[in-house]
């Protein structure tokens, strides 16, 4: 299994509070991604990173920010959580995109915003 650890795995929080999810990898892969998974929507990309301090927005980036200060860590922050951000969040990594761009996924972080 690819060395990807997501923390926390489960979190319950209240509307308006900040939340940070962490993705840690031991594979030294360049690309890291945050997706959210919701029933009926599959997986939707929030943000991704193509190197240290290099990030870009995905399809559903509003309300989320990310940071990558080290190759191994990619943080997803909800500045002020809302109930619509209740979801399962997946981190994924890849050595490079394109024809060899297989993604390796973490086990997910289930977030409930009350």
């Amino acid at each position: 299994d690819a060395g990807i650890t997501q923390s926390p795995r489960h979190k319950v929080t209240e509307t308006g509070t900040p939340v940070t999810l962490r993705c840690h990898q031991t594979e030294n892969h360049r690309y890291m991604y945050w997706y959210r998974q919701d029933p009926g929507h599959g997986l939707r990309l929030i943000h991704y990173s193509y190197g240290v301090k290099d990030t870009d927005k995905g399809e559903v980036s509003d309300g989320y920010s990310v940071s990558r200060s080290k190759t191994e860590d990619f943080l997803l922050t909800l500045e002020s959580a809302t109930s619509s951000q209740t979801s399962v969040y997946f981190c994924a990594i890849s050595p490079q995109p394109g024809d060899t761009g297989e993604l390796f996924f973490g086990e997910g972080s289930r977030l409930t915003v009350l």
């Binding site: 929507h41 997986l43 990309l45 870009d56 997946f90 995109p97």
Partner: protein
């Protein structure tokens, strides 16, 4: 949204039968990938087919790609109980990220 569609949304078959699920997309792709997700787990890569390929095999999996129809299919032959999972297609549009479909939930009945 560039998110593709998959059908059926859910499929139940008897063990030993073949399972076919389909995926459509909207714009040109570099490659298309299929992933499996067991309940409560992360996604696992199954197979990748490039835009210049029409068919690819891996064990009991067969993937086809029709770029003129912007569609792909995943066939699982001789299904087993362990194949029960959700299956997702993902499109590489050549922009450093994958766009996933909505998934097919497959149940294999022993």
């Amino acid at each position: 949204s560039q998110q593709g569609e998959e059908d059926p949304q859910a499929l139940s078959i008897q063990e030993g039968e073949n399972a076919t699920m389909n995926c459509s997309y909207k714009t040109s792709i570099n490659n298309l990938q299929w992933y499996r997700q067991n309940s409560g787990r992360g996604l696992v890569h199954l197979i990748l087919i490039r835009s210049n390929e029409r068919e690819k095999h891996s064990g009991r999996l067969r993937v086809t790609l029709d770029t003129s129809k912007k569609s792909s299919s995943l066939l699982i032959t001789a299904s087993r109980a362990a194949d029960t999972a959700s299956y997702f297609c993902a499109h590489d549009f050549g922009n450093e990220k994958l766009t996933f479909g909505t998934g097919t939930r497959l149940t294999i009945i022993p």
